[in-house]
Symmetry: C2
Subunit: 198 residues, 2 copies
């Protein structure tokens, strides 16, 4: 595998999450062996994405159109905005197909440790979207981490003055969770938020 | 992730060995988030490989030049040819840096089940290379499978008439192998090929 081009391709692939140097080499071998079926489609797909990729100027989603497919989808409900930390979170929630409103990507979470302050997140854009009117509910879908919850708390304070329903994702036992294996924090949340049996 | 371009990229990546739909999605997200650092280099590397990729007309290696880097390397020893089943095997042996001769890729293994006959492999090309002269040793580096060994046996017969040293890779315990966990076939090979202790 002396060729610098193949080495460069291996290194570029090895930088993807989930692939290491070894599996990247296997992937390259697969690409060069089944050239028509794998290399050319991958190249075309990358070119198409690279050409058209942009960040949605409304919600911060990454898509091949601006505004993104979610912001322009007429079937979606304008009255609810789900606020997430990252694009990955938006995609994860969107895959569940359970939220039919719009999204807003903050671009991170407040973090004293990493020096992320409110002005580093797209909070002003969110407030501007709400000020335009028509929004009844804001779902704070931050991660259930200390920083995520701090961010949610800060956002809730910022949005207090608007006539809005501000909600957050429920915390508790994950599906399939066994009490014996869950951490105390989760158990405490689940116990604190216990509900009457139907 | 409504965009067809991003979906196509996810599907193209998911076809690589070691990546499934889930990890391909994570990889796409990584590519779009760190566009300059990952997407563009990967695109360039793929383009370079796609443009130049070819199969070496001498040994069957896949490289960005024909003849390949190994066949044209003047530091390599012309008198030894290591015969392997697939390009992956060549790369694996070459990485070990322990064989300094040339290689020959058969392009598969004899297999009654898969209908692979001698004329489907590059055996004639191997014989032609040997007939040209200058080759003292042929290393049969087939896989230690039934089909690999059948192929090695067939090749040994075909090359019998040449004034050559025909060798094959040693079979026995792999490094780190524990007797308790090894299959009987390996143990039998290791026992049969036992050597006097230095």
């Amino acid at each position: 595998m002396a060729s610098p081009e193949l080495d460069a391709l291996t290194q570029a692939l090895a930088r993807l999450p989930g692939l290491g140097p070894r599996s990247a080499r296997r992937a390259v071998l697969h690409l060069v062996k089944k050239r028509e079926g794998t290399l050319e489609p991958l190249l075309k797909a990358l070119e198409a994405v690279s050409e058209k990729l942009s960040t949605c100027s409304i919600c911060g989603n990454v898509d091949t159109a601006d505004p993104c497919g979610i912001c322009t989808d007429p079937r979606r409900d304008d009255s609810a905005i789900c606020v997430v930390e990252e694009v990955a979170d938006l995609w994860a929630l969107d895959r569940s197909k359970l939220f039919s409103g719009r999204f807003h990507v903050l671009g991170g979470r407040l973090s004293a440790l990493d020096g992320v302050r409110p002005e580093d997140l797209s909070i002003d854009q969110l407030v501007a979207r709400i000020e335009k009117g028509g929004v009844d509910e804001v779902v704070l879908a931050m991660n259930a981490t200390l920083e995520g919850q701090t961010t949610a708390h800060y956002l809730a304070e910022q949005l207090e003055t608007f006539p809005l329903r501000i909600t957050q994702l429920a915390h508790g036992l994950p599906v399939g969770g066994e009490l014996d294996y869950l951490d105390e924090g989760t158990l405490a949340q689940a116990l604190r938020a216990r509900r009457p049996v139907a």
